[in-house]
Structure formats: structure tokens, C-alpha cells
């Protein structure tokens, strides 16, 4: 009898599973970038507490994984919104369209500063993008002045620039799978690289070679791929005063007592300097909305409204409090207009 009851219980458990798998969804489902995640969650929480709707579910899947899920199709089993720390690619949009996700609304929510930081115990340094490029690229212009590329010979910062201290080059940064790395390469390495005229000239002649020269990071230990956990980088910096770390501005802001940001080309990473554009290393953040879902998933419109409201995205909004660098006024206006009208991307 016991066995029979057991079997019955098992069978019933198996039986009920598919039934509810088809049940309805009454909350917003959001996926995407781990960089946007902390901002999206704040909005979601505010939204959940202030309205009668359920708090949206937000998964941190990385931008690529998020877009993959987002583009898989239209319907309850697919997410409504994806966050991204980079703009969606054309190929990805095409993939979306092929799967029936034809109308996608792009929302630019602000900027994220990328900071290079060191332990407070370390010797204070100032860097330029050129120096960073020389220290971290796989191949650099030959130090003897000839216009050729050689494998990076620099071991210490002093080798790069005699004014810098003789500390071993050790930079903890995001892995190549990360959008943060993407941004770092584009904003720092590319720029530093183009400060050499002969490389810049390559751009016209051989685009590919130019990119290979500028965007390839050394793999011999000078650059340490430290994972996506920025807190861990902070902790590691604390343990190792000689190392530098690359991470988002919000982490720097939270850990001011442990680490200090390095000035890039003389500009300290500060809230103001990033917002007004004088700090050179910052990137835009986005989220993408599936227009087909706006009308049918409960709370979608209200969530969008909450996100673009002044108290969230404005200069003194709670997102700014969390370290998101707000959009300039005119850009904010146009984004806000676009979202209200639900203008789909082309």
C-alpha cells in the first residue's frame, strides 16, 4: 500500500508539471547585461513597491545571452526586455526579425564610466591612454623608433614612461567575453593606439591589421583576466598594492576608502567629469523592449514610464545615486520621447 501511495504521488507530480507549464505570466521578465543589472533592479524594485504590479524578474545573463533569449521569439515564454552594455548588432537584429521579433524599441539609459584604479596603499600614478596601450597591447611600436610592430617588451611602468614608477605591469581586468572589456578596448586601446601616426595611417591601408594592432591585449601575464566579479577585483587590488584594476565607476565610487581611481590624461574619474564628458573613458548603456509585448504583459507601460521618469533617470534621480551617469538633457528628452511613442528601431 505504501508503494502504491508513493507511486501515486510521483505520478501526480509528473502529471501536474506540464499543466502549469502552460499557465499564464503576470510579471515582466527581463534579461541581459550584468552592467545594467544593478540599475534595472533598482527601477524594478521601486516599480514593484509603488504599483500594484508584481516586481519584474531580472536575470543577469550577460548582454549576448540576454539578446539571444530576447530574440528567440515573441510570446510569454520569452523575455520582454533585455539590458545591454553595448548597442545591439545588426546581425542580432536580423536574427530577431527572423524569429518574429520585428519591432524592438531601443532605450539609452545613460553612461557608465570605466575606471582604472589601484590600492590606496600603492604609489599614486597618472596615466594617459597611450601609456595604457603601450603597457597592455600584445604588439607595440618598436621602442627604437622604427615604424614596425614588435611583441610587447615592457615589463614595468618605468619601461613605458621613465616618469612612472618601476612597478611591474600587472593589470586586473575583465575577460574578453565581457562588454566591459569591449568598451575598454574601444575607448582606451584604440585611442592610445591612434596616437601613433603610422598605426593610424594603417587604418586606411589595411583596416584589419590596424585593428589587430590596436585591439589585441597581451597574453603574457601583464594583463590578468580577473573575471566579471568587480568586487573581487577590488579585493585583489587591496591585497596587491602593485596591481591596477579596470572596472565600472560605481564600484570605484563604493570603494573609495580602499582604492583610488587613476586620472586619465589628467582627469580624475568623478561623477561630474564623466557626466560632462571630460573624463574620456565612458560608454553608453541600453535596454531593448519587445514592442509586441507592451500591450499584453501587465505593467510594461508603467515600467517603461518609471524607468524614463525624471526621478529615476534624471540628473538627481535615484539611478544617478547608484552610479549611473545621466544622459545630457537633450539626449534625455529625445529618449524619453522615443520611449513614450514606442519608436521601433529600423
Amino acid at each position: 500500500m505504501k508503494k502504491a501511495a508513493l507511486a501515486l504521488a510521483v505520478l501526480s507530480a509528473v502529471a501536474t508539471a506540464p499543466v502549469l507549464a502552460q499557465s499564464s505570466r503576470d510579471y515582466i521578465s527581463i534579461v541581459g547585461s550584468s552592467t545594467v543589472y544593478p540599475f534595472a533592479t533598482v527601477v524594478a524594485e521601486q516599480f514593484g513597491k509603488a504599483t500594484k504590479f508584481k516586481t519584474p524578474k531580472i536575470e543577469s545573463t550577460g548582454s549576448g545571452g540576454g539578446i539571444k533569449l530576447f530574440c528567440a521569439g515573441v510570446g510569454v515564454q520569452h523575455p520582454d526586455i533585455t539590458n545591454a552594455s553595448r548597442a545591439i548588432k545588426k546581425s542580432e537584429l536580423e536574427q530577431c526579425a527572423a524569429n518574429g521579433v520585428k519591432e524592438v524599441v531601443e532605450v539609452k539609459i545613460g553612461y557608465d564610466g570605466l575606471s582604472i584604479a589601484q590600492s590606496k596603499a600603492g604609489k599614486e600614478m597618472q596615466l594617459t591612454r597611450k601609456e595604457v596601450f603601450l603597457a597592455l597591447a600584445k604588439q607595440v611600436p618598436n621602442p627604437d623608433g622604427t615604424q614596425t610592430l614588435v611583441d610587447n617588451p615592457y615589463k614595468t611602468w618605468k619601461d613605458v614612461n621613465a616618469a612612472l614608477p618601476a612597478i611591474k605591469i600587472e593589470v586586473l581586468g575583465p575577460p574578453p567575453t565581457s562588454g566591459t572589456r569591449d568598451a575598454f578596448v574601444e575607448l582606451v586601446m584604440d585611442e592610445g593606439c591612434d596616437s601613433f601616426d603610422f598605426i593610424k595611417a594603417m587604418k586606411k591601408a589595411d583596416k584589419k591589421a590596424h585593428k589587430a594592432a590596436c585591439q589585441t591585449v597581451r597574453e603574457d601575464g601583464g594583463y590578468v583576466e580577473a573575471g566579471e566579479n568587480d568586487n573581487l577585483i577590488v579585493q585583489k587590488l587591496e591585497a596587491n598594492p602593485a596591481a591596477l584594476g579596470i572596472f565600472g565607476f560605481s564600484f570605484l565610487d563604493q570603494n573609495r576608502d580602499k582604492v583610488r581611481g587613476l586620472a586619465i590624461e589628467g582627469v580624475q574619474p568623478e561623477f561630474e567629469t564623466i557626466s560632462n564628458g571630460s573624463y574620456p573613458v565612458s560608454r553608453p548603456l541600453f535596454f531593448y523592449v519587445k514592442k509586441a509585448h507592451v500591450e499584453v504583459i501587465p505593467g510594461m507601460k508603467e515600467y517603461l514610464a518609471e524607468f524614463i521618469s525624471k526621478k529615476a533617470m534624471g540628473d538627481e534621480g535615484y539611478l544617478a545615486e547608484r552610479g549611473l551617469i545621466p544622459l545630457p538633457k537633450d539626449e534625455y528628452m529625445s529618449v524619453s520621447k522615443g520611449v513614450t511613442a514606442l519608436d521601433a528601431m529600423k
Partner: protein
């Protein structure tokens, strides 16, 4: 004494030789025993270092700084039309009331930046606390209420000593003027460390001072219920079949190799399986405890089957023979004699499997359980996280106050584990035997 052994060298009786060797053997014995002691103590030392580092980081999270504020609930602000309808009360701007009360406390503060900092002393959650209070008792409108609300995480960190008051201003997250306000509030007895009930009753939040583990805990409980109710009967049934009834042939060999192999398959691969099969083929909802439970079931099943088979194996064949010998069918012999004897071993294996499931994070990464979910799940279909995932998420959060909460969540998780281990110990103690 006895005849000298013919085979032994002359002049030495075996006893004398034994005596001569004893010192060395005693020493070897002592060394061996000491090695055993050292091994056990090293293991325990590891455990205690780990636990001490966690507890010392996390115990403060069980207290939370609360701030007493006096709020004037002006009717005009909350309910200008006087309807007292729930919708109006819900939508009112309570945070402006709280800001007003902060300004009342520190009338000398001026300038946008400073005011911003002043408002920041109170948690974002205070407005919602106030709203709930007003909605529960609308008659409060128009009066002045004094209530305790959670203070901001920075204030909390300062009160708990995680922020050094004596550090230079530049090195401190709290600036001098804010520190002055906090000192004043302290002097007025408006700041107090109280037991942090919210930590156990609330779901996740992006504000450390409001974040709780209830959501993750419920998610874990639901997940484990699903896992246990599937994996235990399945595992025991499979083990009983393979150990007691299965004929020895290619097919059962295949099953056996399979199970052993599954036990060794990395948990993250089960995550891939869950993603491909349960989500993409069966269309189960992402992030649901049901899904997590299914994946963890498949993951723990081999553990349980192997442990159960070992338990069955350790029941001497004489028991089976005895039952069969008096005319019981194999099924009866198994059901009435072998399984009851093997049950403690099976349960121990199941508990180990459950403990493994309880701490598992990697496969849940793949099936969407690493998510921000503020609402406490109500069933196995609601989106939810699990405790270890919550720990992973909090550990990844920039706010410093999450460090202690992470450790505190770990402590809760370990509490769970201790409970499960206790059950396992009791079982083992009760039933352990040597044949």
C-alpha cells in the same frame, strides 16, 4: 620458553624477538595514530577557520540601525480630495513627507547637494513603511506620528564600525557634515541598533538595509521539496531494482556505468541539460523552483542511487536467504527485511544528496535562477532564486553593506545544513552496525 622455532635463527626465541621489535612497532603505532589525529584536526581546523571568518564578518547583519523620525501626515499632501480611497493613499508621495521631516530636524541645512545628502540618511524603504502604516490606519492622516524606519546602509555601516570615523574625510564614504548630523541624531537617541527582522521576512532588495533572505529561502525550500519528493523515491526504487532484482546483463551493466558516470558529471553540465531539455523542449518556465528542483533531482539522483545500493549491499545475504528460506517471495524479502535494514544508509545518502543540492549554484546559473526577484515566491511555479544564488548575487553587489548580509545569508544556509546533518547523525547513530 617454547621450542625455538626450527626456522628461526638460532639463539633467539620468537618471543624475545617480538619483544625486541616492540619499541619500534609502538612508535610506528603512535606515529600512525598521530597522523590520524592530525588529519582530523586539520580538517576541523579548516572548518573552524572558514566558519570564524564568516561569522566574524556576518553576525552584525542581524542588527540594523533604525532611525526615529517624526512625520506630519498632512492631509493635503496625502489625500487632497478627502476620499480616503486605497488608490489615492497608495499613490501619495510619502517620500516628500519624510524629506520634510528631515528638513524639520535639520533646518539649518541648505543647498541642493547637502539636502540630497540629508535625505540620504533615511532608507528608500521608509516611504513604503509609512505608506503601509497609513493605509492600515487612515485615521492617522492629519496627525504627527513618530516611527522607527531603517537608516541608510552607510549610516548602518558607520554605526557598526565598518566605516572608520577617524579616517581622513577623503578616505571615508561619509563626509564630515553628514557625520555631524549622525552624531546629533545619536545624541537625540534617534539612532538605534535593533534586531533585523526584515532580514528574515523580506525578499531581495537593491537597498542593503531592506534586503532579506525570505524570498531566497522560500525558493530553496520549494526547490528542495521538489528535489526530495522526486529523487528519493526514484533513487531508492532504482537502487532496489538494480541491487535486488535486475538480471546481470548488458542492459543493467549499461545502467550501472551510466549512474556512476552521472555521479561524476559536473553540475554545470546538468545546467546545460536543464536549459536544453526542460526549457527548450518541455517549455517549463525559467527561474521556477520546479525547474531548479528537476535539474537538481537529476543531479542528486546518482548520489542517492549509489548510496542506497551500498546500503543494500551491506545487508548480508543471509537475511535474504532467511526470508526466502521460509517461503517469502523476493519482493517480500526485499520489502520487509532488506529495505528496512538498508533504510538508514539510504536516508544518509539522501541527506548528503540534499545537502549537495542545497549548496549548488552552477547549474542554476544556466536555467535563469540567478535573477533579481523581490517578491517572495508562493509556489513552485513562481520565479525565485535559491539561497546560494542569493549569496552569489549579493557578493557581486557593489554596496559594502552586502558583505555582512552575504555572510549572514551563508550563516543561515549553514544553519540549514547543520540541521540536515544533525538528522543524518541521529540516523546513523541510531542504526549504525557492523556485520
Amino acid at each position: 620458553m617454547t621450542n625455538p622455532g626450527k626456522a628461526l635463527p638460532e639463539g633467539a626465541t620468537s618471543f624475545a624477538r617480538i619483544q625486541a621489535g616492540m619499541a619500534k612497532r609502538r612508535a610506528a603505532e603512535r606515529r600512525f595514530k598521530m597522523l590520524g589525529r592530525i588529519a582530523v584536526s586539520v580538517g576541523l581546523l579548516f572548518l573552524s577557520v572558514l566558519l570564524i571568518s564568516i561569522v566574524s564578518k556576518g553576525y552584525t547583519a542581524f542588527w540594523q540601525t533604525q532611525m526615529r523620525i517624526d512625520v506630519v501626515l498632512t492631509a493635503d499632501e496625502i489625500d487632497p480630495d478627502g476620499t480616503r480611497s486605497a488608490e489615492t493613499l497608495r499613490k501619495a508621495d510619502y517620500s516628500s513627507l519624510i524629506k520634510q521631516s528631515m528638513r524639520d530636524m535639520f533646518p539649518e541645512v541648505s543647498g541642493r547637494r547637502d539636502k540630497f545628502a540629508l535625505y540620504g540618511l533615511v532608507s528608500n524603504g521608509a516611504a513604503f513603511d509609512l505608506r503601509d502604516k497609513v493605509m492600515a490606519d487612515p485615521s492617522l492622516i492629519g496627525t504627527k506620528v513618530s516611527l522607527w524606519v531603517p537608516a541608510d546602509d552607510d549610516v548602518d555601516m558607520l554605526m557598526k564600525g565598518h566605516i572608520d570615523r577617524n579616517a581622513a574625510e577623503d578616505d571615508r564614504r561619509i563626509k564630515d557634515n553628514v557625520l555631524g548630523w549622525i552624531n546629533q541624531l545619536e545624541a537625540e537617541d534617534r539612532l538605534e541598533l535593533r534586531f533585523n527582522i526584515d532580514f528574515f521576512t523580506k525578499g531581495d532588495s537593491r537597498d542593503p538595509e531592506l534586503a532579506g533572505i525570505r524570498g531566497a529561502l522560500m525558493g530553496t525550500i520549494f526547490t528542495l521539496i521538489v528535489t526530495l519528493s522526486l529523487s528519493f523515491p526514484l533513487g531508492v526504487a532504482a537502487a532496489v531494482y538494480l541491487e535486488e532484482f535486475a538480471p546481470k546483463n548488458k542492459w543493467t551493466d549499461l545502467i550501472e556505468v551510466n549512474i556512476n558516470n552521472l555521479a561524476a558529471v559536473p553540475s554545470i553540465v546538468f545546467g546545460l541539460l536543464g536549459l536544453a531539455v526542460f526549457i527548450n523542449v518541455f517549455g517549463l518556465p525559467r527561474s521556477a523552483p520546479l525547474l531548479g528542483g528537476l535539474v537538481l533531482t537529476l543531479m542528486t539522483l546518482p548520489t542517492i542511487i549509489i548510496a542506497s545500493r551500498a546500503a543494500l549491499k551491506s545487508v548480508p545475504p543471509s537475511i535474504r536467504d532467511a526470508a526466502l528460506g521460509i517461503g517469502a517471495s523476493p519482493m517480500q524479502a526485499t520489502l520487509y527485511h532488506v529495505i528496512p535494514l538498508a533504510l538508514p544508509g539510504m536516508l544518509t545518502g539522501t541527506i548528503i544528496g540534499m545537502a549537495q543540492a542545497l549548496g549548488e549554484t552552477a547549474p542554476l546559473l544556466m536555467i535563469g535562477m540567478v535573477a533579481f526577484i523581490a517578491d517572495v515566491p508562493q509556489g513552485v511555479f513562481d520565479p525565485s532564486t535559491a539561497l546560494p544564488v542569493q549569496i552569489y548575487l549579493w557578493a557581486d553587489s557593489p554596496e559594502r553593506a552586502y558583505v555582512e548580509r552575504t555572510s549572514a545569508a551563508i550563516m543561515v544556509l549553514l544553519g540549514f545544513l547543520a540541521l540536515m546533518n544533525l538528522v543524518a547523525v541521529l540516523l546513523r547513530k541510531r542504526f549504525e552496525r557492523r556485520w
